[in-house]
């Protein structure tokens, strides 16, 4: 008897059954009696649609699935990395509606209609994003694991400075923040690099931001 085949078959049946009840569970007019009748530990599936790197995606997900796990495990966009999975390291940084977030600390099902950009959507090996090119030029990495998150974060940092969003080290709250080393270090503090490539990362971000 093919053990794995049996597991697959029964798993599919479970998923299918789950999908039927989950379809009802996710709509705003959720029947709460139905929710209460659900076995306490049974997975709940839900549908969600959003755009990733310009392409519309319609997905069925377990409600527990983070945006990070959807990107990596369902869409196979493995450029976005899982480091700590608790919002402490920044390896999972992506752009959500143009703003950087930790993809590990948000649920996929919460992003109906969102525009998501991952490292794969910023540039390609043939046509690098200027921030990617600057990281290469300045050797802004060593093992490379944190790099996609660093680059997505850095792209957003330049945008935040451009839009005048102040930081902890901005001398004035009311004047345009500078693209200084101190500003870059503070604004990039949510991206940890355990190889310690920080000084080269700062140089890369400064150059991509137009500083000589």
């Amino acid at each position: 008897m093919n053990y794995f085949k049996d597991i697959k078959a029964s798993r599919r049946a479970v998923l299918k059954a789950g999908a039927v009840s989950a379809g009802a569970a996710v709509v705003p007019s959720l029947g709460l009696a139905q929710a209460a009748a659900r076995p306490a530990d049974a997975p709940v599936l839900a549908s969600v649609s959003f755009t990733v790197n310009g392409k519309m995606q319609r997905l069925d997900v377990d409600t527990r699935t983070t945006l990070l796990d959807v990107l990596r495990e369902q869409l196979h966009l493995t450029g976005t990395k899982k480091g700590c999975d608790h919002g402490q390291c920044g390896a999972c940084t992506i752009l959500l509606d143009g703003r950087r977030i930790n993809a590990c600390l948000t649920l996929a099902v919460m992003h109906e209609g969102a525009q998501i950009t991952t490292i794969e959507g910023l540039g390609t090996p043939d046509k690098l994003h200027p921030m990617q090119a600057a990281f290469v030029k300045h050797d802004g990495y060593q093992c490379g694991y944190c790099t996609p998150g660093q680059i997505c974060s850095a792209v957003a940092v330049l945008d935040e400075i451009k839009r005048g969003v102040p930081s902890h080290v901005s001398a004035s709250l009311t004047e345009q923040p500078l693209l200084s080393v101190d500003e870059i270090r503070e604004r990039m503090s949510g991206n940890i690099c355990r190889c310690g490539a920080y000084s080269n990362i700062v140089e890369a971000v400064a150059e991509a931001g137009g500083q000589p």
């Binding site: 306490a40 377990d62 919002g87 940084t93 948000t106 709250l173």
Partner: protein, 326 residues
């Protein structure tokens, strides 16, 4: 993570009603704290009510010259709002001193107020913790408690409140607007919002089951020099050992509140009359009755010194709302 059902709330009353009717339901907005705790199974909601669609994402002037901040306004947007930067600089500074750019883009005003302690024993499900499992004991008392509370704590819990934003809001006398499960609205002054741990440390605030924060109102601007000074183990992206929020007027009078020392933002209005007489008098009155542990007794000295630095900043820097990285 435990499985849960999920719904997007269509109205505040519906959200509050759904949350109160469904045992184990929780609201979710930014999710940056709740999902972290759910992954560790410290929080195990059976149902999530997503309130992101409720439209509480605006900052509006109030008729009396203050500001009403929607519950869903993201920390980044609140810190960057031109009116907040100009008139409530201490609030911008406090927000910018907390978390990372990524987290501030997601974290909401209400969620920041409601974030749970970062006590390591609260986070470690292998250890007793009265906040996580009422009656199980406190591992921090007698444990590693360098980060913990020096005042207002109890024999059941010595955790601190982690928020920087809430310290500034306490200083500014913010009022928290809610809707209850019955649909009735109420306003809670922030001074009455948080609980001291006592023998019920699992209850952080006075919110009832299913009660939803809809916004936070700030009274008209105070003027003066606004300072938020945070002392931590790293230069950035760390919780406070001690923080001081202050608004100081040209005549030396003003307000002061502390973070990192208690189960709630710590303000003692009666201590503020000592402000023209210097940091030692104010710190003494603020921390009167403090009972630090051997490991965190340094916070008593640190509060006085940080407050002294804040008063110097305010005196030297009267023309600019400014705080310096500690």
């Amino acid at each position: 993570m435990k499985a849960f059902t999920y719904q997007r709330a269509a109205s505040p009353a519906q959200a509050a009603a759904a949350a109160s009717r469904t045992p184990g339901a929780r609201f979710i907005a930014g999710g940056t704290n709740l999902l972290d705790l759910m992954k560790l199974e410290i929080e195990t909601p059976s149902h999530l009510v997503d309130v992101n669609g409720l439209g509480f994402d605006r900052i509006e002037a109030t008729p009396d010259g203050g500001l009403r901040i929607g519950a869903l306004v993201r920390n980044t947007d609140l810190a960057a709002d031109a009116r907040v930067r100009r008139d409530y600089g201490v609030l911008s500074r406090a927000l910018l001193a907390g978390a990372s750019g990524q987290l501030r883009n997601k974290a909401t005003t209400a969620g920041n107020l409601l974030q749970r302690t970062r006590c390591a024993y609260f986070y470690d499900t292998n250890q007793p913790c009265n906040k996580r499992v009422p009656g199980s004991g406190c591992s921090a008392i007698g444990g590693i408690n360098r980060q913990h509370a020096v005042i207002g704590a109890s024999s059941a819990c010595i955790a601190t409140h982690p928020s920087d934003m809430a310290v500034a809001m306490r200083l500014l006398d913010a009022r928290i607007e809610t809707v209850r499960a019955s649909g009735a609205a109420r306003v809670i002054p922030i001074a009455d919002f948080y609980r001291l741990p006592g023998d019920t440390p699992h209850l952080d605030t006075v919110l009832e089951a299913g009660e939803l924060i809809t916004g936070v109102t700030l009274p008209p601007p105070l003027g003066g020099v606004h300072v938020y000074r945070k002392v931590r183990d790293r230069a950035s992206y760390a919780f406070a050992l001690v923080s001081v929020a202050a608004v100081i007027q040209p005549d030396g009078r003003g307000r002061v509140a502390l973070g990192g020392v208690a189960h709630q933002p710590w303000r003692v209005e009666a201590a503020e009359r000592h402000l023209p007489h210097g940091a030692a008098a104010v710190a003494g009155a603020l921390l009167s009755g403090a009972r630090p542990t051997e490991q965190n007794a340094f916070k008593i000295t640190l509060v006085e010194r940080t407050l002294a630095a804040v008063l110097l900043d305010a005196r030297d820097d009267g023309s600019e709302h400014r705080s310096k990285p500690a």
